[in-house]
């Protein structure tokens, strides 16, 4: 490739952070890459790989105390690193635009969206306010936002995460930048939203002919948008090349590790016939829960409606759904933190009291809760050994050397070094914190662990290691899990049974095998179909899916909750009668008006997204 053609050229880039004793630690070393005009380059790596630092260096910016210590960045004819502050100001926002990960915190909540979208273009005198607003509306339309003329008058709290992310892209594109930097723009979104956002980004960036740098940790997402891929680890380039080559024939061992971790293989395990006479370990019957005053068995803000499920001893039940589907509330109800409005929770055949005060210590001990975010789940004022000791002395009355020994055992069990015991959790890495979080639950000697999104906040490789650990612990200790996740491939990898929640309703439940091939509930189908595959061109193939037209009438609380988004709905039936519960041949139980054959017919031709 001719160097003159390359629109962006980064050579020998070095970024350092200050370390103790006046030394500097390199966080990015000797990074070289080029981006030809109009192409998309993806930077991929785990947290700490320096990908965001590189992206920011392209705008001549280094975060905090970090410093760009050497190398060059050329965009068009401009050497970015030689510009002074005022020259950089004219480049940033005009020629180079940045789209951050969390749009919700990047917008000012007290001003309208339109004010903020046109701010750069109007403030720098590039466009008049009316012209800028016209242009913004055009971009809103191109990004497939609803009501493009009116959406600019809204405020942040009136918009969804996916919409905000697209609005932020519109803001970045207002000045027709030649280079757009997208920093993990879809990481915080649900899969079903992510696919729309990706599609909109891709189309608009192409239309504008802009060069783009896409920062992500997710190879499958990158496969959809990138022409070239650079794989980073600890601030160094591990592999760089055409997207095709990196995805099809990865040369570097680290790239292969990343790819393997992104899609964990289903863990094979001997099928154990459940003993028929014994009651299941946990049984949830007709559970309704929510927040606010309860009237006639229904809370003011219902979160869960009529949930029935059970977990046999030694098995794992996966619960999946989008944010807001009520998955976390389910775990809280079982743990006793939220009192149900109706229905029952039975543990080992005994009904559990609705609130904490009615439960016995034995019941507390046998059900343990592990939260998603280990940063907030571990008390920052306590050391690791204090965190792990508390359940030991609380449940088992251990103290002194016996307790210390058990703490060491637990650290060993969760594959943590014993030297960690005296540290506070602020001094641990994300993966270590999550292991401590898990070790605390294990300290109680539980029968059931409620895992709420335990791998969602972690890098793929670290998350995969935690999943392996969970599987190993289950084998060794005969544990049962309620595994809550939004990621269907994770759930399929480690769960025996899967329940799908949509807006508080259980729309489908069945053994894992039932989730391999159609038919599914239409929502499950949408969920599975939205997980990007790790190959190029997948997004274009998906483009045939047509969003259903909006509903004409307001929705009745008893009807199918998925109705407004369902592509398979039948007018006159689905919008009049509540859906029946049907059982498919594969053993899956569905909440739908269609029967198995009709669903099979509708979903035929779409191969399973996960098991080709």
């Amino acid at each position: 490739m001719d160097a003159a053609q390359d629109h962006v050229q980064v050579s020998g880039l070095r970024i350092t952070a200050p370390a103790a004793g006046g030394q500097e630690t390199p966080i990015v070393s000797d990074v070289d890459f080029t981006i030809p005009k109009g192409q998309v380059l993806a930077l991929i790596g785990e947290s700490g790989s320096g990908k965001t630092s590189i992206a920011l260096a392209l705008m001549g910016y280094a975060r905090g105390d970090c410093r760009i210590a050497g190398g060059g960045v050329r965009v068009g004819d401009t050497e970015i690193l030689t510009l002074d502050a005022s020259q950089l100001r004219t480049v940033r926002g005009n020629r180079i635009a940045y789209v951050a990960q969390s749009a919700a915190s990047s917008f000012n909540p007290s001003r309208t969206i339109m004010d903020q979208v046109v701010e750069t273009a109007v403030g720098r005198g590039l466009l008049s306010r009316p012209a800028a607003e016209d242009k913004a509306v055009g971009l809103f339309r191109a990004l497939a936002l609803p009501q493009p003329e009116a959406i600019g008058e809204r405020y942040v709290h009136q918009l969804s995460g996916g919409q905000l992310q697209r609005l932020m892209a519109a803001m970045a594109l207002m000045t027709d930048p030649e280079l757009v930097i997208l920093d993990e723009p879809t990481t915080a979104l649900d899969v079903t939203t992510q696919i729309d956002v990706l599609r909109a980004f891709k189309r608009v960036v192409r239309q504008q002919g802009a060069t783009a740098l896409y920062v992500s940790h997710d190879l499958a997402v990158v496969a959809q948008v990138a022409d070239r891929i650079v794989v980073l680890q600890r601030g160094r380039v591990r592999e760089a090349g055409d997207a095709n080559q990196v995805l099809e024939k990865p040369a570097d061992i680290y790239t292969r590790t990343l790819m393997a971790a992104a899609r964990p293989p289903a863990q094979a395990r001997p099928h154990r016939p459940a003993p028929q006479q014994a009651p299941p370990l946990l049984e949830v019957r007709g559970l309704t829960a929510g927040y606010g005053r309860v009237e006639a068995g229904v809370p003011k803000i219902p979160v869960l409606r009529d949930i029935t499920l059970s977990i046999a001893k030694g098995t794992t039940l996966g619960v999946i759904g989008e944010s807001g589907s009520g998955k976390s509330t389910l775990a809280r109800v079982i743990a006793g933190l939220v009192a149900p409005a109706g229905g029952q929770v039975l543990f080992q055949g005994q009904p559990l009291a609705p609130t904490l005060s009615g439960r016995t210590r034995e019941q507390f001990q046998r059900i343990q809760l592990v939260f998603q975010n280990a940063d907030t789940a571990l008390n920052p004022a306590h050391t690791v050994s204090r965190i792990l000791s508390r359940p030991l002395s609380f449940y088992h009355g251990m103290d002194g050397r016996a307790r210390d020994r058990r703490v060491a055992d637990l650290l060993d069990l969760t594959q943590l070094p014993a030297g960690l015991a005296d540290r506070r959790c602020g001094e641990l890495s994300g993966g270590q914190k999550q292991r401590v979080n898990l070790a605390r639950a294990l300290a109680a000697d539980p029968h059931l662990i409620l895992c709420d999104e335990v791998t969602s906040a972690l890098d793929t490789v670290v998350g995969a290691a935690i999943l392996d650990l969970l599987a190993e612990l289950r084998r060794e200790l005969d544990l049962s899990y309620l595994f809550i996740s939004h990621d269907i491939s994770t759930v399929r990898a480690i769960c025996d049974d899967i329940a799908v929640l949509y807006a508080g309703q259980k729309v489908e439940m069945g053994p894992r095998n039932g989730f391999g091939d159609a038919p599914f509930h239409p929502y499950t189908d949408l969920l599975i179909g939205s997980v990007p595959e790790m190959r190029q061109g997948w997004l274009e193939e998906k483009e045939t899916a047509v969003a259903p037209p909006p509903l004409a009438t307001a929705q009745d609380a008893n009807l199918c909750r998925f109705l407004p988004r369902c592509a398979a709905r039948v007018e006159g039936l689905c919008d009049r009668l509540p859906p029946p519960r049907i059982v498919l041949d594969g053993g899956n139980e569905l909440l739908c008006h269609h029967d198995g054959q009709a669903l099979q017919h509708l979903q035929r031709g779409r191969q399973s997204a996960i098991n080709p």
Binding site: S47, K51, L356, F364, Q368, L369, D422, G426
Partner: protein, 297 residues
């Protein structure tokens, strides 16, 4: 995506077993400003305790023919508006300010934080009762409250202490309650509830260590307010009774010397300043929530 800086073993605080060792460890780890603060606080504690013994003259004695006299060998800090020795008055006044103000600030902050923790971990109605009671207390003007109480019971140090503490408890309660309710929603506290822990354990072991730093900062502020309140009360004749005076009253009674830049007003003002600055420097230097070792200082 912050870079993970490898942890160095030697930078880790070694666990120290004995209480004295722990205190020494804490003090030696203070920053320079913290050590300055500590020195000032210790100095004032000593002066508060031993001040009356060190005073060269009687606190009420008229010893100089000059008013607002400057520095001299006989009167190190000059004389006040009635010709009394400023140094002696300062040394005897320190005990009221240090003792009374510090004790009431401690009482106010401790009561406020304790009630806030109780309100947070208790059922809703307890929270309502405590919060409404505090709202009632906050609505009473502090000076009128003091007037009524002093009129009813007569002025005494114990009463002053109670008045000052009662005046500043609701504010401390409000701040501590806001902190505690936020922390109560944290996942680690929820986990503790789900573990079946009692309320006392949750309040003292899970919530309190994480709110202690802002509560201490609030304590520093309240201390300054109480010094001012006490001097205001003394001015009205409700506080420390003449010829004794706390530091705030010393500033107030010598206010007419301000135009001449008299030492009689500067010295107690500097005394109050060093005391409050010392307290606040020390509080700010205390190790905060989750020592930030990974980020470097």
């Amino acid at each position: 995506m912050t870079p993970t800086v490898p942890l160095r073993e030697e930078s880790m605080a070694k666990p120290v077993s004995t209480a004295a060792g722990r205190v020494w460890h804490l003090l030696s780890g203070l920053s320079t400003s913290g050590q300055v603060g500590l020195a000032l606080v210790v100095l004032w504690l000593v002066l508060g305790a031993a001040g009356p013994l060190l005073a060269p003259y009687d606190v009420g004695a008229f010893v100089s023919p000059e008013v607002f006299d400057g520095m001299s060998a006989r009167h190190w800090l000059g004389s006040d508006y009635l010709g009394r020795d400023v140094l002696s008055r300062l040394l005897s006044g320190a005990q009221y300010t240090v003792g009374l103000a510090l004790a009431s600030a401690l009482l106010a902050s401790a009561t406020g934080a304790g009630l806030a923790l109780t309100a947070t971990v208790s059922p809703r109605w307890v929270d309502e009762v405590i919060s409404r009671f505090m709202d009632t207390l906050i609505s009473i003007p502090s000076k009128v409250f003091a007037l009524v109480l002093v009129a009813a019971f007569g002025s005494s140090l114990a009463l002053l202490l109670l008045i000052a503490a009662a005046t500043y408890t609701p504010g401390a309660f409000r701040i501590a309650r806001a902190l505690a309710t936020n922390l109560n929603q944290m996942d680690y506290v929820q986990v503790a509830y789900a573990r079946g822990e009692g309320r006392l354990y949750i309040a003292t072991a899970e919530i309190m260590p994480n709110m202690i730093h802002p509560v201490l900062a609030d304590f520093g502020l309240r201390f300054v307010f109480i010094v001012l309140l006490l001097s205001g009360l003394s001015f009205l004749g409700l506080g420390v009774q003449p010829p004794n005076a706390d530091l705030g009253s010393l500033v107030r009674e010598n206010i007419s010397g301000l135009g001449d830049g008299a030492l009689a007003i500067l010295a107690p003002a500097v005394a109050i300043a060093t005391l409050t600055i010392g307290v606040n420097l020390l509080i700010d230097a205390l190790p905060g929530r989750g020592r930030r070792i990974t980020g470097g200082r």
